[in-house]
Symmetry: C2
Subunit: 450 residues, 2 copies
């Protein structure tokens, strides 16, 4: 009997399992998952800690029981796949609760093992009150500390660091982010990051230290963290540390099985989610993607991509034919009233990739100024002087950034030139925008430079 085995059941894996069942009512499907929970929204974890969501169960999209009863999928949680044997079409598995080992035959295999948090190689990462945020279990552990701890240090100022920072400030904690790079949110250009930085420190009382590296987590002599030391010699007290200075793709067992790893360090797949090994597919955070602007492989682990890739893999694994055309790295995150959105490439990336590029930045109200609640947004557009095409955009501010970034993401997918893009007919009502939307205004200005 045909048997599809899926390693990992959070985003890509869970999406694939339900889609495979819809495409094929008969095939045997098994998910092996290291953690207790499958099919949950990892992106929602900071909002559970913030208490916007009270119970972690709310983050579950489908429960293991749903999968077993409704989708007839065998779900093995707390099971680790330790080895893939492509020649035998087998996987070796260990039950983490009982340490029992077993092997299982697959007809087709989907690797959806996700990513892991990188633990910096410094003293003290094993102390109490030092946490990472990856799983629901992690989130429960952190949430438990929010009322008890008073001073938190977040190592790393990426998405997760910023989102957790918001949760801790709302929780009444003294919150410090330490970022080793020149500024937080390194996917944005420096002046955009700087605007967010200023907002967080001036309006939200967050402490942000940049260009500095944590070199040691200090033991209170009872095995609990009581502070950090940095490269520059700073000593800071704290009673909680979050390590969020980087993530990496889970590739070890894939690599051992001879599956090709790309230049980015993640699993290499084609547009149908196939690896170089017959009958083995991969999807989600453990794989690299093609950037639609540069046509180069990148590793941008995002829940939206994982879900789409899981769906595409499922269609192809059940005899269908679907392609994943690539990504733009479109993303959005929120910190208090501010949101920060990006699509395509930024100026730093354009520079490094050797584009002959031009930028335009404007700050405008997001809707008619007389409407209560109208707020500023800062829009930065990047275009290619040679092809005259849009390359990317960043939009940040208290106003509605998401709407505009998605318009640009659509234009990027369509490969529109700036000249073509200026003619888009967007909706207008004073409640929703200005009569000529800020992105059009920015486009008019950008055109002058092309």
């Amino acid at each position: 009997m045909e048997h599809i085995i899926i390693i990992g059941g959070v985003a890509a894996g869970a999406k694939a399992a339900s889609k495979i069942r819809r495409e094929n009512p008969h095939v045997k499907i098994s998910i092996y998952n290291e953690g207790k929970f499958i099919s949950y929204s990892a992106c929602g974890l900071p909002y559970f800690i913030e208490n916007l969501i009270e119970k972690p169960e709310k983050l579950l999209i489908r429960s293991p029981k749903d999968f077993e009863n409704k989708y007839k999928v065998n779900v093995f949680t707390e099971h680790r796949v330790t080895k893939i044997l492509p020649n035998k079409h087998q996987v070796e598995i260990i039950d983490l609760k009982t340490s029992e080992k077993s092997t299982e035959q697959y007809s087709k295999l989907l690797i959806a093992m996700g990513a892991h948090v990188c633990i910096p190689d410094i003293e003290g990462t094993d102390l109490k009150n030092v946490h990472i945020l990856k799983s629901i279990e992690d989130a429960i552990a952190i949430k438990d500390k929010v009322p008890k701890c008073k001073k938190v240090i977040i190592v790393g100022g990426g998405y997760i660091g910023i989102e957790l920072g918001e949760a801790f400030v709302y929780g009444g904690m003294d919150t410090t982010i330490i970022e080793m790079g020149p500024d937080i949110l390194s996917h944005l250009d420096d002046e955009m990051s700087q605007e967010v930085h200023t907002y967080l420190t001036h309006e939200k009382n967050m402490h942000i230290i940049t260009n500095n590296r944590v070199t040691k987590l200090v033991d209170n002599s009872e095995g609990k963290v009581c502070g950090v030391e940095t490269e520059s010699g700073k000593k800071l007290e704290c009673d909680l540390v979050i390590l969020s200075a980087g993530v990496g793709p889970n590739i070890d067992i894939a690599k051992d099985a001879g599956i090709a790893i790309g230049k980015t360090g993640a699993i290499k797949i084609d547009s149908r989610m196939q690896t170089n090994v017959r009958d083995i597919y991969a999807a989600g955070d453990c794989t690299e993607q093609i950037n639609m602007i540069t046509n180069k492989p990148v590793w941008v682990p995002l829940g939206s991509t994982a879900n789409k890739q899981g769906r595409i893999a499922a269609i192809n694994m059940t005899g269908g034919d679907a392609e994943f055309k690539g990504i733009l790295g479109s993303s959005i995150t929120k910190a208090f009233e501010y949101s920060m959105a990006k699509t395509g490439i930024n100026a730093k990336e354009a520079e490094n990739l050797g584009y002959n590029y031009v930028c335009e930045t404007i700050t405008n109200k997001d809707r008619s100024g007389y409407i209560p609640g109208a707020e500023n947004i800062t829009i930065k557009l990047i275009a290619d002087k040679d092809s005259k095409k849009l390359l990317g955009a960043q939009i940040i501010g208290k106003g509605d950034t998401d709407k505009r970034i998605n318009v640009i993401a659509t234009a990027l997918t369509a490969g529109m030139t700036v000249e073509e893009f200026q003619h888009i007919d967007l909706t207008y009502s004073p409640l929703f925008s200005t009569s000529i939307d800020p992105i059009i205004v920015a486009t008019y200005e950008l055109l002058k430079k092309l």
Copy 2:
């Protein structure tokens, strides 16, 4: 000396005046405007009546003084241009305050006379407490009635009718809309209108009568309206009536001057905003536009279009070269928590135009279901079976409709096929959308039918 005369100073005219000045610091510019106010947001009038905006001055984008001092534009308010003499490059003007007549020479002329409210040919439209909403003066008069009147009847269930309905309900008035068509908001397909209709009557206590025509406004014998009678014999009491059953383009003096009028009844212009008469341009609600989907002329008077056309006219009138590629009729309006957005053509229009079309409608949450404030949106996509291209969309609901309709408007401008559109990479955060956005989900479903 070169002299640009602009007839009408609300949206297209005001935009053109400021843009002409930026393009040419020396040319003489004069605006003649019938009303007291120029350069204001007509789309904001319902929100002034609703008291979301307290003072009408807030709606002014630039004051006549701003125009005179900052832009060196001569502004003649309460002046009517009564005749255009193309052979002499002259206009005849009457000062409405003094009845004084004059003529003025122009080098180039911009007709931006806008639209008027159509007054139905029935008894009683001249009674007291019977109003239209077109100008700031109208809005001030209506707002004055809101605390005094108790029962209002709105004749016509288009945008303005619905937006005023909201204002009156918030003002504590018993509010009835009478619409002669099969349902309110006729730019939407019937089942979409019906959903809004149900929401307004069930959740907001508005009364809506459709398929009925007001035949008489009843005099209380003191010259004040006290009720209406309808075609079906209904008699309804009221102490305030708003006539909002249609608008028409202001074309009379243009037509008299030999300027071509299009099939739609509005002034015909080319993509550079030129009429058929040398040195005479037109822009805004008095002109017709080309629908980018059908390539046919349409008359869709909207503030966004007027502003863009005014800008394009200004560039071309000062020796530059800019084109207006047409419209999609993209629009959005709000009624309480609901918003209703449209772009491209709807199924009714596709049917009438003879397209071999297909539709897909889905209702989904606008963001992750576990986030407080996640709300439903209903998305209807329309595509052409022959070209496989998107033709249009309607999105309504309590959730975020605007973001999605603008994504589709961008895809329509780019001429994307449904197959191409499915690959758009939109931002995802549980606070802003679902991991696979509802429009992508709808697109996947639509693809199955193509």
